[in-house]
Symmetry: C2
Subunit: 146 residues, 2 copies
DNA sequence: TTTATATGTAATTAAAATTGTTACAGTTTA
DNA sequence: TAAACTGTAACAATTTTAATTACATATAAA
């Protein structure tokens, strides 16, 4: 039995990357202000608590700094030139995959026994390409499109 | 209001690609036999109905042919040299994405108004790279690893 | 010093998507 | 004619994400 595998194998695409990038884009547009989670959530039309959760993640990676209390909020802690989309990708995504079958395959079958390891290798190659591509795009380049 | 957008934007990674590739790998190992959905499902440890659903998709793309009735089953309809992983990707995936926020963003916000179009452009670039990479891998090359 | 406003976080509920199951009609072989 | 298999549809169960609620804590300003 290997329940543990499936915890990793099964993965729904959440909005984490998109929400985080949206937050950073807004912060970059008001570099000198502390923006509230309610303001940020208003642009995305989502719940402010979700925004604060992603901000907690951004803080963990030293991308932003927050001020609590009245007139509090969040602002960028790094230059938009020094943040790449790959940084954001790595902060919010474990790994891009094209999916795995939900259950552990039959270990008695030669194909079942090795399918996930071969898929892993395939997906690893894809992730390397994606990271390389995203590393070339700075947050500044992305936000300049708005 | 544009509810319709979200139907496309929200996307969970299903096991379609992995299941389809697993099916094709098994079929390639027994090129002269009609394999039953129950046998195929046994290797993946999933329900035979799920397998038949993916086989229906494979048939739509002329990758396999099925025989109904007793002793029926499915076999490859093309050479393993003539199927690429990109063919399978395009059959089973609309598009790889790093996700979108679930709700339509605020159109009154300059960032909200354009975020999804800019994410789309970003993800399109990623998909082009993935396709190029997968196009170089034939089903034969993949199945030779088992 | 008090009030208002905001973060930080946990816990619970709701919603959305995939997978599993059941059922059964239709097909083919022996 | 019986057995075994495909092909689907419909529905239930599972899983994951998002929303909501609640409240402790922090800070600014009146």
């Amino acid at each position: 039995m290997s329940y543990i595998c499936n915890i990793f194998y099964y993965s729904m695409i959440s909005g984490k990357f998109a929400i985080t990038l949206h937050i950073l884009t807004l912060l970059s547009k008001f570099p000198d202000e502390y923006l509230s989670s309610e303001f940020l959530a208003g642009s995305m039309n989502i719940n402010p608590v979700l925004v604060r959760k992603e901000i907690a993640n951004l803080k963990k990676h030293n991308m932003v700094e927050s001020r609590e209390g009245k007139n509090g909020g969040t602002r960028l802690a790094k230059s938009v030139k020094d943040i790449t989309l790959d940084d954001i990708f790595k902060m919010t995504f474990q790994k891009v995959s094209l999916g795995y079958a939900k259950n552990d395959p039959n270990p008695a079958c030669p194909v079942g026994k090795k399918i996930n390891q071969n898929l892993d290798a395939l997906y690893d190659g894809i992730n390397i390409k994606i990271s390389a591509q995203l590393k070339d795009i700075s947050l500044m380049e992305f936000t300049d499109k708005f």
